[in-house]
């Protein structure tokens, strides 16, 4: 079976290392982007199975990236899990309005649980 392709859009390099390595070990193919524009370019270019998206990002924030993904005919169906440290009700609501598939607060989740959520989302 081919490996599922996951993109991590995150400006914090150490989170790429830990989460990227963890997810690779779980059997995913992991791609990395460090700002919103780079992330969007990769989503456009590669056929991805899922995107993990931070909200506070350089160049384009997560909401903008999400809105552009959902507007585009080719990309609009890719599941997007927001993975951020913002956790106010306003942020969560805004994310779902823009079309987030799931919303996870980083500091509340272990990577194991993030991986679980990814697998659940991919099954749907």
């Amino acid at each position: 079976m081919e490996k599922k392709k996951i993109l991590i859009v995150e400006d914090e390099a150490s989170l790429h290392e830990s989460l990227g390595e963890f997810l690779s070990a779980e059997g995913f193919e992991v791609l990395n982007a460090y700002d919103g524009e780079e992330g969007l370019a990769i989503v456009r270019e590669k056929k991805l199975d899922l995107v993990l998206l931070d909200i506070i990002l350089p160049k384009k924030d997560g909401y903008e990236v999400l809105a552009e993904i959902r507007k585009d005919e080719e990309m609009k169906n890719v599941p997007v899990i927001l993975l951020t440290n913002l956790e106010s009700a306003e942020d969560v609501q805004k994310a779902f309005e823009k079309g987030a598939t799931t919303y996870l607060v980083k500091s509340d989740y272990k990577m194991e649980e993030v991986a679980e959520k990814i697998k659940e989302t991919l099954k749907k």
Binding site: E12, S18, N85, E87, S107, K110, M111, E112
Partner: protein, 311 residues
Amino acid sequence: MRFINDLNLKKQADELGVSVWQTPGFLFIVLGLVAAAVMAATFYLSQNYGSPEVLILSECAVAILVLTVGNSVIRVFEQMAKVNKMKSEFVSVASHQLRTPLSAIRWETELLLSKFKKGLSEKQVKNIESISLLSARMTRLVNDLLDVTRIDQKRLLMKKEPVNVSALAEESIAEMSDLAKSRNVEIIFIPKKNMPKITGDREKIKMVMENLIGNSVKYTTNRGKIEIKVFKKDNSIVFSIKDNGVGIPEEQQNRIFDKFFRSDNCVKYQTDGTGLGLYIAKSIVEQSGGEMWFKSVENLGSIFNFKLPIK
């Protein structure tokens, strides 16, 4: 006494962080002096000149003066409100900034413990485990601080969903069972069926229960017993937790819901904590339309209760 205190402008200025001539007290004195001077002047003018033009002119002058002083009073209040808002924003931004490196630490340690455990010695695993526990504790502290700022700003948003309190109590107990086992404390709970649901924020009510259970476990020494009951009383569901722990000294009982308050027993029994748990718990219960109360006897134990209305 209060009046004299209000006149201590230097102190007021220091407390508010503004200069003396900007304190509300000073400005009100100016306002009073202006009013008195104006009355005297108007009286003098009407006695000596008596023409309506002079009177109208002097009244206009008064209006302008009052508006100018009044305006600076308002500006000072605005400035104070701004400073207060900035303070809360600072706590909130600082907490968010702390969470990013904290999640990084937690994930790095998780990676080591889950995927690279084979290469580690037993001692190393223990060390990494304690890093993991400590960073989890710090994350909780940061989360508590964020909740407190939200409560203080009246911005803590609560969901409105149907909640089965008895089932939620079972879940909370299950989450706390490891802690209870590690302290050799037994938790007794017999769930009741067919209880009416309440309307509230499930996650937040669960947080309140876990806080109370956590406290009971932490302050109950070896072979302790905790009894939890959930029952219907009048138009409310009551959650009650009784322990045979160390209790709270009587003279400190009226302060336990204060922010950052920690009883002497915390120090004595070396439990970790921030002194924010009960403050947050009580605020959540009250914001859900309920009440929280307790009874405690030192060395015998405590009973904590909260009730939530059935809507």
